[in-house]
């Protein structure tokens, strides 16, 4: 369940950060691909052409690759990319290899920033976080500081995530961390385990996202954050809670595209190995039974036998349903050894062709297009299956996608979502900050994509139509204003973002048209259509002539307004 918020009211007392707007559980995005509908067929579908993916003129490979594999182009990035080879293919190949081997990247500047950011909790192990912030929180729960201390690791994770997105050179890692957190989504304010979000993100996701999917799946399924979030922690033989099992099938592995509804499991077609080609409700119930007894070692009240309070995963045999089960056509005998029922379910799911296609499609949607070509989806799914036992399975899947012909021809397939738009603006302006001020998070909330605050388990949508709404777009524009004017700050902590656009402008450029023609390519790495370029010049010129030297005061005060317009342009929103 993602709805309960017994303690959120207490968190709200912490002030500023969350007060502004409603964090709503909005609806899920759809899978675009057709599904087989087993029962009721719709006699006639309304055929309204969906928004065709915009066909834009191709851009240089550097721009495509940097937009897709990073959180936006920094000054100097394009030159660095072009130095990686003599042909586009060679440059892309080298860039992808570099980004997929993050240990090879010198990230010392970022590491210095990270050390200066003063994070107090992110170095702690999972057990330590549980002990310090949950089991032995030293403060009185009636005081705000108790809740501040309780949620501190999660808040620090959010700040560190912004810091990495803007400054780390291991950009693909950051893009993937964002993808996988949304794939295995956990809501920041879920009950019981808020501080554990930090260890979840690090130990269950980041540790595996260039590794093996089966291992990641198990790390996720056993992580206390997930056990709490989807009620697995309360699931026992006498009352299995099917919440986690359902999302395990529907979101984490097979996907809704392989859901065949409420029907007799015997009626489902089997593949060559006797495994069902899709899943039905009965599979969810049976999997829930397999997973009974998977819980958190969290006996804070000291009243359960055989349960301590380490905060670790615990297989609690008294709650496990020992009888036989049937999942996806596979028979599970009674009294299998400890944990085997659950592990077998994960094995079945992680090696299923339906899972391979679902994960491949989502990755292609992230990196190629809202509606990715089936050819590349299938190629990525093939890699996924071929290397299902390999320790670098997901790295190989990424290679298949990023080096594909479909990837190279995909400009226009993606629009930045709010988080990407905001991060890319800070990167484009060389904005500087020690720690992300509350203003950044608050603006992301108004845009509808505050970090880790998607409440339902499906993660934030990854298609443009979900974000092309007026409130979200307006606050994207406001972010451009707030960032460039240096308004993004935080009263409580004193953190602020500084974007010195005036200081980054060569002193000899002083007419409206030359300033526009300097900053447009500096930010966009391409030109604007004539009318848009002229609109930018007009903002800079105000009452002056376009080619007349501008007074220094005028440059100083109007330059940010001109830069804001460039950041607000449709061209900046393509990814």
């Amino acid at each position: 369940m993602y709805g309960r918020k017994l303690s959120r009211r207490d968190f709200l007392k912490l002030g500023g950060a969350l007060a502004a707007t409603s964090a709503l559980a909005a609806c899920a995005p759809g899978e675009e691909n057709p599904i087989t509908v087993p029962f009721e067929t719709v006699t006639q579908n309304p055929v309204i052409t969906p928004e065709a993916l915009t066909s834009l003129p191709p851009v240089p490979m550097a721009i495509l690759a940097l937009n897709r594999l990073t959180f936006g182009i920094r000054p100097g990035d394009v030159d660095a990319f072009n130095a990686l080879g003599s042909t586009d293919d060679e440059r892309l190949q080298n860039f992808v290899v570099q980004q997929l081997n993050p240990d090879s990247i010198d990230d010392s500047d970022f590491e210095t920033r990270y050390n200066n950011a003063g994070f107090e909790t992110l170095h702690k192990s999972h057990e330590q976080i549980y002990y310090d912030h949950i089991a032995s929180n030293p403060y009185d729960s009636n005081d705000d500081i108790y809740w501040e201390w309780y949620s501190k690791p999660a808040y620090e994770l959010a700040d560190a995530t912004v810091l990495r997105a803007v400054f780390s050179k291991k950009q693909l890692v950051e893009v993937l961390a964002d993808f996988w957190h949304n794939h295995f989504n956990i809501y920041f304010w879920q009950d019981d385990g808020v501080p554990l979000l930090a260890s979840y993100n690090r130990d269950a996701l980041r540790a595996h996202m260039l590794g093996n999917f089966r291992q990641m799946l198990e790390a996720v399924a056993k992580h206390p954050s997930m056990l709490y979030y989807l009620n697995q922690n309360n699931s026992s033989d006498s009352g299995p809670n099917e919440n986690f099992a359902r999302e395990l099938f529907e979101l984490h592995t097979l996907g809704a595209e392989n859901y065949l509804g409420v029907r007799d499991p015997n009626s489902v077609e089997k593949d060559a190995n006797g495994i069902s080609i899709g899943y039905v409700d009965n599979d969810v119930y049976e999997a829930a039974r397999c997973l009974t007894g998977w819980r958190v070692d969290d006996d804070l009240g000291d009243w359960e036998d055989g349960v301590e309070k380490t905060g670790n995963f615990l297989y609690y045999k008294p709650w496990h349903d020992r009888f036989n089960k049937l999942v996806l056509g596979r028979y599970f005998p009674a009294d299998q050894e400890d944990l085997k029922d659950g592990h077998d379910v994960l094995d079945l799911l992680a090696s299923h062709p339906g899972t391979a296609r679902h994960i491949a499609r989502k990755l292609c949607r992230r990196f190629i297009s809202d509606i990715p070509p089936e050819s590349v989806v299938q190629a990525a799914a093939d890699t996924f299956l071929q290397f299902k036992d390999a320790p670098d399975q997901l790295k190989r899947v990424m290679e298949t996608i990023l080096l594909s012909a479909e990837f190279k021809a995909s400009w226009g397939g993606k629009v930045k979502r709010p988080f990407e738009a905001a991060m890319s603006m800070m990167r484009a302006l060389n904005s500087d900050f020690t720690r992300a001020p509350g203003g950044i998070h608050w603006m992301l909330e108004l845009m509808g994509q505050r970090l880790f605050e998607r409440r339902p388990p499906d993660g934030y949508p990854d298609t443009r139509d979900a974000w092309a709404n007026s409130m979200s777009l307006l606050y994207r524009w406001n972010f451009a204003v707030g960032l460039t004017e240096n308004w993004l700050d935080d009263d409580d902590t004193g953190y602020r973002v500084n974007s010195d656009t005036y200081g980054q402008t060569p002193a000899e450029i002083r007419t409206a048209s030359s300033l526009a023609d300097y900053w447009i390519p500096r930010i966009l790495n391409q030109t604007l259509p004539e009318a848009s370029r002229n609109a930018v010049v007009a903002v800079m010129a105000q009452e002056y002539g376009w080619d007349e030297p501008l007074p220094e005061d005028h440059v100083r005060y109007v330059l940010p307004a001109m830069i804001e317009v460039i950041l607000m342009s449709p061209e900046f929103q393509w990814r």
Partner: protein
Amino acid sequence: MTKTILPRRQFLQGCSAAIAAMAGAKLTNIAFARQDNPSDTLVVVFLRGGWDALNVVAPIEGDDRGFYEKARPDIRIQNLLRLNDQFGMHPAMSPLYDLYQAGRVGVVHAVGLNVDTRSHFDAQEYIELGTPGSKNTASGWITRHLQASGISSILPVLSTSGMPTSLLNFVPTVSLSTPEEFSLWDNGLRDSHINALRQMYAGESLLHRAGARTLDALDIVSPLSGGYEPSNGAYYNNDEFGIQLKTVAQMIKLDAGLRVATVDFGGWDTHEYQNSGDGGYMADLLNSLASGLANFYLDLDSGYTDKLSVVVVSEFGRRLVQNESYGTDHGHGSVMFTLGGSVNGGQVFGNWPGLHNDQLYDRADLAVTTDYRQVLGELLSKRGNNADIESVFPGFSGSYNPLGIFR
């Protein structure tokens, strides 16, 4: 976060008269003629998560009360507000009880989707696309309604929470949380910004059209940012739902031809500890819902309720039997509410299937005896000035058989 006082403002004050004049030329007041709106304003409230319909409207007598109590020993509701001889409403919904008795609130029980799914995301999509069983539909049901009935007004549709699937592919949608928040930050050159944005967003892509629509909406909404005084002493809770309804009321009173508003209210996925006696988590949600709707009606009972029709829908109801976590898992049949000046209220509509094991869907959940499209179809044809049910709900018009919920 704070907005620092702008040095540029001072700079501009010392500037040429031309800039000053431009900076002050912002439209501060747009008067809308009361548009001749052929339809009610339809307000669609979607309760995300699948609300526990059997604790919202529960049996009060007979065998079904027995089945209900037996299945829910720890979470049954006791002190229900009597709706008729058969059903009572959760006591936390008392703010709506007077309106029910006055005939302004109608209830439809055992309503929902006639397809087999217990997935939130499938069920929400089926309902919002208006094509149960198919997710391969390129537009939402409200989109097709507005396309079929024609749009001429300035502000045809408002969403107070992002872009719901029911409005998929309807670019004229304006989404905003509150008028106060819906403004372009002013760095002292805002009009200059707006001029440039108009130029840059004059294109055909989804992004361009969304940008142009946002600029239009700014023109409409910016005069409203001065605060809002609800009529008749109505009071909106400062919660997700209350804030959204207040915004919708403000937009209705603009007389800008608002045809449809969508409101989202999440948090209904009650897998554990859903109540404590007649109170607790879900009771708080229900009270928020009922109090919000009652005050919304009160506020608009100032000349607007004759052309107001509200429907409340969730993706499914929940299992009859409680689970071991004192909650309920995903189920099937649900309950819908309607509210408005033209509702034939004070009644519970639908065919009650019963709660005996043999009467349950999949021997587990309240069955669906009324397709949710019966309710929405009647809403459109009687209150939305749109008799073309087939274009909104393809394949359904043959089964359309209005229950008489709306006049």
